[in-house]
Symmetry: C2
């Protein structure tokens, strides 16, 4: 939430876009519409296309660009943001339709579409695969946001033959959208997302599937732990069949390994008298502690922002007063979480701000009499 | 966050406590201190005890009760809130020390301590095991809250020989703390929590443990899905060794079943040409959808409260104005979440309120010109 009137105010005056447009976006769902919104905000000319006229019209209304017309000039860059199973088709078509444009895609698996294009003998000089690591629980243009990619990794898969200029075009788009460039081979990319995205998805789905035959009474005892571990089990099966099928080898290897870990854990737990059993269980649980500690930005919004914790008495209007004063101080609040311990009559407001303003914000708040943690 | 000065204002005038105290709480961590805070708020006399003088002093300072003195009268009810591995000891000692009191415990496993007490030949007439399904990521009295148990299931394990009066005493405590009573046998309880709590814990830990040997590059691609599925892997290994060890049979059975599911999924994925493979994968992912849909209160705070979504322009002071007006309208906000789509220059404030005031709150806000969803 910006304390200023515009996002320009929030992020400072926007420098000129690096992207040398026009940019054509094929597929107007969450990712395509977010690419359009973000580039439009930087002043880039964006045209849109989608198999569904309703979808593309919605994205255009939302401000993601304008529907492409027959007499539009050839784009400099084409971003393919279709479902993964038609990525190779869409890339091939785009390369043929716009022979002078650089074509990239945002599909979440990189090796399979590349091999498919190579198998078809498509000239890939103008193609640079990429994958922005961003998404939301719900898809569709309506969930799109200009800052979806801000501070998120954006993987670029170049190879030795990729012309420097084609690479630069795709990197410009990623940078204009606030992405953090990461170069990987398609193989490295697919193994990595297998571990950090596809494995958790399957595990979450299978864990949630175990709830189907459970008694109502058992389900009634569910708490935050179960909700968190199974949240992504609500994802679209059709999309995940495509993703998992396209990343079969790394995913099956990881699934086999995890199934082995779970069976080993059960064996250790079953046999409490064996020497070293308790130690083995402790080691596995501690390894879980160590693993989760490696994940950057564990605390949601604190990933991009610095969190300031302000103590507020649980009295009328205190929070409103805090927000008013933040506005007066010119401190832009990016996010807000409340935490309260009612019995103790004390609450905390966790305010996310840009890292560079955090120190001044704390000093200003303390000067006005607020207690920060 | 209360818009009134006190929680009494928030929940309306508190009726007299059902609990016929005094209540003695053994163990002053998160659960014990929360029991104390909640009962104190209802005017019940609460005494505290803990192996650690620092811990019990902290809980007393926090308002959870007073440290028990030698000349205090015998309590009517004793609540054992120690770590699970010393629950049986503490219950046995409490029954011996306070022969006229009803003793309950809040341990997260119910059969093992009961069998241990039976094995020792302890007279269990005055014992009623219970388990409030509540907790927080971080433990300790400092995280305690009077409303920790509000609207959460509180399992009571009675047996045929439990005297009605002993049962009533424990139920009164649970009801005064806002718990929702659920009667189960110890066996039913342990199987249920095995599924909804212990299985997700082990899976989350083992999934997170897989991140230990991962490359920095791979970890750098982590997103919200990995963070959510591994959040509880940060839990205390010592506590979980105790819990899992005490619920060995149901947990190993569930782990074996899930390991089998994962191996089957990998087999299906490995063999895309076999007839029915895609269907099998789709069915498993869809079962995950169905399973997660069964979990009550998927959306955090909306579990206890009704959420009102208010559209706010992304302009200065709008949120502060909204909160000020909520205060003027006498609407108590229990929680607040912000959601903003910067590109679209529109944000949403999700305000949690008590269900009984939601309708009036929406009407009042609309009358003042706010747009609600």
């Amino acid at each position: 939430m910006s304390g200023n009137g515009t996002r320009n105010g929030l992020y400072g005056a926007q420098p000129a876009a690096r992207t040398r447009g026009p940019v054509h976006v094929i597929g107007s769902g969450l990712l395509g519409a977010s690419v359009g919104l973000g580039l439009r905000e930087r002043g880039v000319d964006v045209t849109l296309e989608d198999l569904s006229p309703t979808t593309v019209a919605l994205a255009a209304d939302y401000g993601a660009g304008r529907v492409r017309a027959a007499d539009d000039a050839e784009p400099t860059i084409v971003v393919v943001a279709t479902p993964p199973d038609v990525t190779a088709d869409a890339v091939e078509r785009a390369l043929a339709t716009y022979p002078n444009a650089v074509v990239t895609d945002v599909a979440s698996v990189k090796l399979a579409p590349l091999e498919e294009l190579q198998r078809r003998g498509v000239d890939l000089t103008n193609y640079v695969g990429s994958h922005p690591m961003a998404g939301r629980e719900r898809g569709g243009a309506i969930m799109a946001r200009a800052d979806l990619f801000t501070a998120r990794p954006w993987v670029i898969c170049r190879d030795a033959e990729t012309p420097a200029e084609a690479l630069a075009h795709v990197e410009d788009v990623a940078l204009d959208l606030g992405g953090v460039l990461i170069e990987m081979t398609p193989e490295e990319h697919d193994r990595s997302v297998g571990l950090v995205s596809h494995l958790p998805q399957v595990v979450s789905s299978l864990l949630a599937a175990r709830l189907v035959p459970a008694t109502e009474q058992a389900i009634g005892l569910a708490g935050a732990g179960l909700r968190d571990t199974t949240r992504i089990a609500a994802s679209d099966p059709e999309l995940w069949i495509q993703i998992l099928g396209a990343n079969r080898e790394p995913v099956t290897e990881l699934l086999d390994a995890l199934a082995g870990d779970i069976a080993d854990f059960a064996d250790a737990l079953r046999d409490p008298e064996r020497v070293g059993t308790k130690r083995r269980i402790a080691d596995l649980l501690s390894a879980g502690n160590a693993g989760v500690a490696r994940i950057p930005g564990k605390h949601g919004s604190s990933e991009r922002f610095t969190t300031i914790t302000v103590l507020i008495d649980d009295t009328p209007g205190q929070l409103a007063r805090l927000l008013t004063e933040l506005g007066e101080l010119g401190i832009n609040m990016e996010d807000l979480r409340l935490e309260h311990s009612p019995g103790a009559q004390i609450g905390f407001a966790e305010i996310a701000v840009l890292p560079e303003v955090a120190e001044r914000a704390v000093a200003d708040l303390v000067e006005r009499g607020w207690r920060t943690l």
